[in-house]
């Protein structure tokens, strides 16, 4: 093929035709599947940032190169976006012009009978009358066109409609997803049981608003965590039930309502929902200086590391001179072996133990660099003590003391505003209905023609679903019997 000179508009038109061709759509579809694979093989920042950090720590050059190709952000990467945007343009370019075509097609009369019916599907030749055939086709709800000596009948127009509905509803789903990410928000907060969560930006541990979500628009609700119950299987240690009792207040003057939150039963405030995502323990500690003055008191959330809630955390006391930090682990049911050292053997508080190592020096809390509340950078600090505490015990070290007063559970609440999800759901339901219509509805034509006093019957199964032969056979038998 010699390529024609392509310039300006004609080049654009050529590219557009290429993009919206079925072949390109198929290739893009396969590419999209291929492109989503790396995201399931490498950790993704949005799901497991800690694992991504491990990659950088163990092989920083390799990780940097992987990062350059967006292998840790596959689903937000330019190349992934390019594929699905092209696919949707191709889809729109393919479906929208066809919609108009099919929209007209829906009201169109069946195509007239071909000159010879013998080559068509299910050909029959029977004695009979055209009138009877027409009555039969009509009673079976075929759309009919009659001219002198022949009938053209068609049925199953809904199939094409279904096909179009399916493809158009995919666009609705995509718009819903886009709407969620632009107008929605999500955030997380750890709440100790007994505390109150007030829905303002400062209450969040992290908050990701969509591009057009104004942070000032957070709905003013509060949630007080009254009680949290976790039940575990004594044999397998697996959780059996998490129940969080809360008192909520919707709006500034809303009345207090008691509610229950479970993993599959989130709270709803208008278009915002609050999910119970994780839980752990906060040891209650009191830290005093040498003179006995209280320098820190309260619950400190520790982060679970395994399913038995072996947890790690840090207690930072910048008010002491020199500054003091405690690097700690908390074991709800203490156990010990040679390999792992101290660990927890059951997630409930059967034999709680707080292990602390005491460090003095500079906590570097004034450097302006954001710090993890669960870790202490001990590079410029000196360790001055190490102890395991039971509830009620106090450990005295050089410059003060720490007392382990007790434990309260914490819960991690995820707050999500997802305004596009109804549209995505609506689109999905429509997509299934359209899909079933396009796959299961038989669209077929039947032609009947009177030739030399006999009836010739044949048809065409437009989407090649079986059943036309039997249908024609039935019609033929009926004609014979009517005779």
């Amino acid at each position: 093929m010699s390529a024609p000179e392509l310039q300006g508009l004609s080049l654009l038109r050529y590219l557009w035709r290429q993009l919206t061709s079925m072949r390109t759509a198929l290739i893009l579809l396969l590419l999209l599947g291929l492109a989503s694979i790396p995201g399931s093989l490498f950790p993704q920042r949005t799901q497991s940032p800690l694992k991504v950090r491990e990659y950088f720590e163990s092989d920083s050059t390799g990780a940097k190169w992987m990062d350059r190709f967006y292998l840790f952000d596959v689903y937000g990467s330019p190349w992934f976006s390019a594929i699905y945007i092209l696919l949707f343009i191709s889809l729109i370019g393919c479906v929208v012009p066809r919609s108009w075509h099919y929209f007209r097609e829906i009201f169109k009369a069946p195509a007239p009978a071909p000159s010879s019916l013998r080559t068509m599907e299910g050909f029959h030749e029977v004695e009979g009358q055209l009138e009877a055939a027409q009555r039969w086709l009509k009673s079976h709800r075929f759309r009919i066109v009659r001219d002198g000596k022949s009938i053209a009948a068609e049925k199953g127009y809904l199939r094409e409609t279904g096909n179009l509905v399916f493809h158009l509803s995919l666009i609705v789903v995509l718009l819903g997803i886009a709407g969620s990410s632009v107008f929605g928000m999500r955030g997380e907060a750890i709440i100790n049981v007994g505390e109150r969560f007030i829905n303002t930006p400062t209450s969040y541990d992290n908050l990701t608003p969509g591009r057009f979500f104004s942070i000032g628009n957070l709905p003013p609700f509060t949630i007080k965590a009254d009680n949290f119950d976790a039940t575990y299987n004594p044999e397998t240690n697996a959780p059996e039930d998490y129940v969080l009792n809360v008192t909520t207040q919707d709006g500034v003057d809303g009345e207090s309502i008691k509610k229950v939150v479970r993993v599959n039963e989130p709270l709803t405030f208008g278009s915002t929902r609050v999910y119970l995502q994780a839980n752990g323990y906060s040891p209650l500690v009191t830290v005093k200086d040498k003179s006995g003055e209280v320098k820190f008191e309260g619950p400190v959330p520790f982060l679970p590391q395994d399913s038995n809630l072996t947890s790690i955390g840090a207690i930072k006391v910048p008010d002491m001179e020199p500054q003091v930090g405690f690097v700690g682990s908390f074991l709800p049911t203490a156990a010990r072996d040679k390999v792992r050292g101290g660990f927890s053997s059951f997630p409930e508080l059967l034999d709680p133990r707080l292990l602390v190592s005491v460090w003095t020096g500079d906590l570097k809390m004034d450097t302006g660099v954001p710090q993890s509340v669960y870790r202490i950078d001990t590079e410029d600090m000196e360790r001055i003590g190490l102890w395991a505490l039971r509830i009620g015990e106090t450990y005295q070290f050089e410059v003060g003391s720490i007392t382990f007063n007790g434990v309260i559970p914490w819960v991690n609440l995820q707050v999500v505003r997802d305004p596009g999800k109804q549209y995505a759901l609506f689109g999905s339901i429509l997509a299934i209905i359209g899909l079933m219509a396009s796959l299961f509805i038989r669209q077929r034509r039947i032609w009947v023609r009177e030739v030399n006093g006999k009836l010739e019957i044949a048809g065409l199964a437009l989407n090649r679903l079986p059943g036309l032969d039997e249908e024609i056979k039935k019609l033929a038998t009926e004609m014979k019997e009517a005779k």
Partner: protein, 298 residues
């Protein structure tokens, strides 16, 4: 009976089913071998089916019996934990083997699929054997994230789709095998009894077209559940990603057939590829994968 008793009954029934499937497998093997031998002399096109008809019938009856026993075993497993029997990889496997066997029997009522008995019984034996030896976990209550009606709907739809995908894959694989044989020369005596390439091609397509909306539903039901349990309906969790890839590939397959007119070899390869992503998802994410769909109990 206590819950533990039910769990033991279930184990016995699953073992029993494995044993009966083995008998069915032996009968199918015998039938296959005998059909070939029956053809030893005379023209290669004539096959004496009368000699094998009886063993073929017996094999199918034994297969049916094994499936009934497996069904009871799966039900007993559900009773032992007072919930649906598909909450970890072992249960998913025995339920999956059951739907696969049932899909074979049901489709076999309409089409003559006795020739598929041998490969199908091998596949069922492999799934059940792996489940019993490697994946077994004691019957236990559900973790909080699984305590939802969607467990019934979402996972059942996924298992059912999987059973039919697997059947369609088996047929597509048979197509490719026979196609290769025909290109090299004539079909062997055994293969002569199998349906024509055209029938296989149509059948594997029809199974996919039938079950694709169900798979779409399984993915959407999963999204609805994820919205309620995890606060997002789509998060590119490895299992979600691979379910999406399976969906994409089957969608491409349907387009290739209906719109682009693919048939035969190319279509069969695409069908196999799509089906293997389902299997990959089942093995990879459950055994080595990360993410939130980690309920295998391994």
């Amino acid at each position: 009976m206590t819950k533990t008793d039910w769990a033991y009954v279930s184990n016995d029934l699953v073992y029993g089913a494995l044993f009966i499937y083995t008998i069915a497998f032996i009968l199918y093997t015998y039938e296959t071998a005998f059909a070939v031998r029956a053809n030893k002399e005379g023209a290669s096109s004539s096959i004496d089916r009368t000699k094998t008809a009886k063993s073929s019938r017996i094999a199918t009856i034994v297969f049916l019996l094994a499936t009934a026993v497996l069904l009871l075993g799966v039900v007993a497993r559900g009773v032992s934990a007072s919930r649906v029997p598909w909450s970890n990889m072992y249960e998913y496997s025995i339920s999956g083997a059951l739907t696969f066997a049932l899909a074979y029997l049901i489709v076999g009522r309409k089409y003559d699929l006795r020739w598929l008995g041998l490969p199908i019984s091998i596949a069922v034996l492999l799934i059940l054997g792996t489940a019993i030896t490697l994946l077994y976990r004691p019957s236990a209550p559900l973790v909080p994230a699984l305590q939802s009606t969607w467990l019934v709907v979402h996972v059942f739809a996924a298992i059912l789709s999987g059973g039919v995908f697997l059947l369609s894959n088996t047929i597509a694989a048979t197509y490719l095998w026979l196609d290769r044989m025909e290109r090299k020369g004539e079909r062997t005596a055994f293969a002569k009894r199998l349906p024509t390439l055209e029938v296989l091609d149509q059948l594997s397509y029809r199974l996919v077209a039938f079950v694709f909306p169900l798979w779409t539903f399984a993915v959407i039901a999963g999204a609805i559940w994820a919205e309620a349990a995890w606060g997002r309906y789509w998060g590119w969790d490895p299992k979600e990603t691979w379910a999406f890839i399976t969906w994409i590939l089957y969608a491409a397959y349907l387009h290739a057939r209906v719109t682009a007119g693919w048939k035969g070899r190319k279509a069969a390869w695409l069908c196999l590829l799509a089906g293997s992503t389902y299997l990959f998802n089942y093995v990879y994410v459950n055994v080595w994968g990360t993410g939130r769909h980690t309920y295998s109990g391994l």
